[in-house]
């Protein structure tokens, strides 16, 4: 077996042996996400109580939920950084598209 193949096999074995959280851990994460969803939804019933804080609060909660799901449920936290890079490049391009849209239609169109 060549050195390259041996290295690849070793890396592959490492990738399979990565830390896998228990079912209880995932249940706790799901409960945390459920609580965040309940807080998000509650802003609908008390819009006056939050007034101008509602939108920033909702965006922060959305980012926390998004981050928790991709990092823990999708295993990015425990997997190779190459997988994270693949996803973050797409995500970054999507945000770039939104910024370009916004500038094109909100500013340049005036």
């Amino acid at each position: 077996m060549s050195a390259v193949t041996e290295h690849a096999a070793h890396e592959h074995h490492k990738a399979h042996d990565h830390h896998v959280p228990t079912d209880q851990y995932f249940i706790k994460v799901a409960l945390f996400l459920a609580v965040l969803t309940a807080i998000e939804t509650s802003t609908y019933w008390w819009p006056d109580a939050l007034s101008s804080f509602a939108t920033p609060t909702l965006i922060v909660l959305m980012i926390i939920k998004f981050w928790t799901i991709i990092r823990i449920f999708m295993h990015l936290k425990f997997d190779s950084p190459i997988f994270s890079a693949m996803f973050y490049i797409g995500l970054g391009l999507a945000l770039f598209v939104y910024v370009v849209y916004l500038f094109t239609f909100q500013f340049f169109a005036r």
């Binding site: 909702l58 909660l61 449920f73 693949m86």
Partner: protein, 208 residues
């Protein structure tokens, strides 16, 4: 004896003890391709969400978000989809433990929760239509139906994949690493959930 050892090595060349291919990077090519696909899906939904955000105020005299959105119903749908992510991750963990019966059970529950979500969306679309919000009524309605409709199609495709996986496991026809096959579907399913997290906040909860 030496001949048997050589044969055994050759038969398993390029495979590990999980039945998966050993690659030059040391990472699963299937998983790499799935993450690349999900990255490209970000662009698709990024474009659709951006379009909705820009057009949500363009509705003339037609009904708008404040008049037609049923937040309690959508909150229940969101909670159902969120819980389906938990059942999906439990299915992946069961597959990693080589526990086929629990894998099939959690996959089936995930598919049922997905069906409930799609059912809620069909009910929502029908009630919006009866309230006078057609697909071509306004820029708001077109961008809303396109965004949420695309997401609904993704959930439906996910349900089909989940049920197909249950069938494949039941017949014992999984080729390669079974846990990885379940994990691939899991990644897709979680992505569909994470897109809904964004849609639920930006489309339904943040006032126009």
């Amino acid at each position: 004896m030496a001949d048997i050892a050589v044969h055994d090595t050759a038969a398993h060349a390029g495979h590990d003890d999980h039945g998966a291919h050993v690659t030059a990077t040391g990472l699963s090519n299937n998983k790499l391709a799935m993450w690349l696909f999900l990255g490209s899906e970000c662009l698709l939904f990024g474009g659709l969400i951006s379009t909705y955000m820009l057009y949500r105020g363009r509705r003339g005299t037609d009904p708008g978000p404040a008049q037609i959105f049923d937040i309690p119903l959508t909150s229940i749908s969101s909670f159902i989809l969120l819980m389906s992510s938990l059942t999906m991750v439990l299915a992946v963990n069961s597959a990693k433990r080589k526990d086929d019966s629990n894998t099939k059970l959690w996959l089936t529950i995930t598919a049922l929760l997905g069906c409930l979500f799609v059912g809620g969306q069909v009910y929502e679309f029908t009630s919006f239509y009866h309230e006078g919000l057609g697909f071509t009524s306004s820029l708001f309605s077109s961008s809303f139906y396109t965004l949420t409709g695309f997401h609904g199609v993704h959930v439906t495709v996910g349900v089909i994949m989940l049920l197909a996986m249950v069938g494949i496991i039941s017949r014992g026809r999984v080729t390669g690493d079974k846990a990885e096959a379940v994990e691939m579907i899991g990644l897709y399913w979680h992505f569909v959930d994470v897109v809904w997290v964004v849609i639920f906040t930006l489309v339904y909860l943040i006032p126009a």
